[in-house]
Symmetry: C2
Amino acid sequence: MNKIHEECVVLDHGTGGLLSGQLVSDVIVGTLGDVYVGLMEDSFVAKLDTVGFLAMTTDSFVITPQIFGNGDIGKVAVCGTVNDLAVSGATPKFLTLALVLEEGLPIRTLRQIIASVRDAALEANVKIVAGDTKVVKCGEVDKIFINTAGVGFVPDRYTHLRPRSIRDGDDIIVSSSLGNHSIHILSMREGLGFEQRVLSDCAPLNHMLDSLLARHAAAIRCMRDVTRGGLGTVLNELATEQSLLITLDEERLPIQIETRMASEMLGVNPIYLANEGCVCLFADPAYSADIVAELKKHTYGRQAAVVGRTRKATDGKVLMIDRDGDSTIVEHLQGMELPRLC
Amino acid sequence: MNKIHEECVVLDHGTGGLLSGQLVSDVIVGTLGDVYVGLMEDSFVAKLDTVGFLAMTTDSFVITPQIFGNGDIGKVAVCGTVNDLAVSGATPKFLTLALVLEEGLPIRTLRQIIASVRDAALEANVKIVAGDTKVVKCGEVDKIFINTAGVGFVPDRYTHLRPRSIRDGDDIIVSSSLGNHSIHILSMREGLGFEQRVLSDCAPLNHMLDSLLARHAAAIRCMRDVTRGGLGTVLNELATEQSLLITLDEERLPIQIETRMASEMLGVNPIYLANEGCVCLFADPAYSADIVAELKKHTYGRQAAVVGRTRKATDGKVLMIDRDGDSTIVEHLQGMELPRLC
């Protein structure tokens, strides 16, 4: 391999031949280490040691900047897919990793991103089982896009975790401060100076949700990952789909003060901002204090709070109640034009 | 939805809110119809009616032009992943579909591509179970990239289909003319005029391989999908990994005459060109004539032929034997710089 190939990604790294093989075996599989359990064949094949329910999901990640204050696109790509599985009650097990690289991407940047994939996969206890690497010309993609698809298995006792399980009078709980991922990324992009104090919340939530479900599965109706579009979007989708009147107590929403300040500067509402390590869950109100207490035991759940409740209704709607008891509608998100947060 | 949104993809189609929902439900899920069995939740969950072996694979597709003579990126995205599963002995079952769209992409183009996804999935009898749609600014991706990941199940009796099952003296069979996908795409890109006569071979091979395995699984050692890097790359990888001396009979390689002519004009060797509907398989020579006859019964296997054989060796190597019996080494591919064929 000559020097230029050591320094930057070139088109031949993606054409299937010798350089492709070297990039994959050295930079990707070499960096992933034991986290990669594939054989670089057409498919990964594993004996299923379970019968029951399979969960499957996919996400493409196009975040910019690719490397941010406390993470990078590699970490987001693992956490996003792990969390989609975990909120469905699945134990995440196998991830695929597909990269589209821009010619000229520094190899050291790629190594750093793959190291983050490895570290997040180690923390989440998932294996990378198959991959794909494409290279396109300079200007045909912005540096690197990553897709991860994931498979997990759902124990029978967790298969009730679905939107249709939500009942009249459920409490709504969120596990972390809202909007920090978006504000961190936007602050870096716009040079607002908040990125030191508002960190991305990007994290794999599966171990926290494992402990929570082990104790409280019967009291939890449904969980959702709060990402693009924020809590406002998750709740509007569920309100519409399940005919719910959802009320949120504005004062109880966990929002970091710097996130509020940055949101005001940017003219955005934190209710629509993305997290990458926040679960929203619906629970029997008799157990919601216990659930919040359990979440607070975990690093990623310290800001957990009951923030609202549900009523069965004819028309789905989300209302925000302020300190004076006045309500405003939280509309479906439109016109934010905030792309590439994940 | 106002007129511009009906005509072109805009950034808000990717930000998780109202327009994202409309794009997904109308254009994507609406076009997929019964092929989509997800619920637009964080993960798809299905009861496993099987114990045994799970196969999993992923591929990102960045082909240009996105719409070519007899197919498009949507068709390639389904066939590529279906074939990766099928050559591993799996019955392909569930696919995920993740799109990265460029702002400004005409909605009618997207509908056409999703219709191709649907048609290929119908033919292959796979379901789309989960998806993701991101939108990036004009110039940050070239029109549309698609990732498909796939899951299938491998019957116990097919789990021997692995490179390490290849033996000394196996016959090597290919199922179709080599390089037609590449030549079709390159001819369109370069305006060579061959694209009418050399069509892409892009096709889902799972039904053909199902029939073949039902009759001849015990005689087949291993199958590989011939894609990027062509037959030359598949064979070099296996030769190196399994310590095989592989000899190919030049005269027996099925290569269409126009593909040869175009390859000469382009200065490329068809042995390294990509197919999207060609399997290379290793088989007991006592059964290779029956296997070829079985493949020839299928539309996608009409050009099937025995093209070479294996010898166990200390150093892996691929040799091409010409009509005079002279041999040349088929080297590992390097320096072709032919990106974005799939």
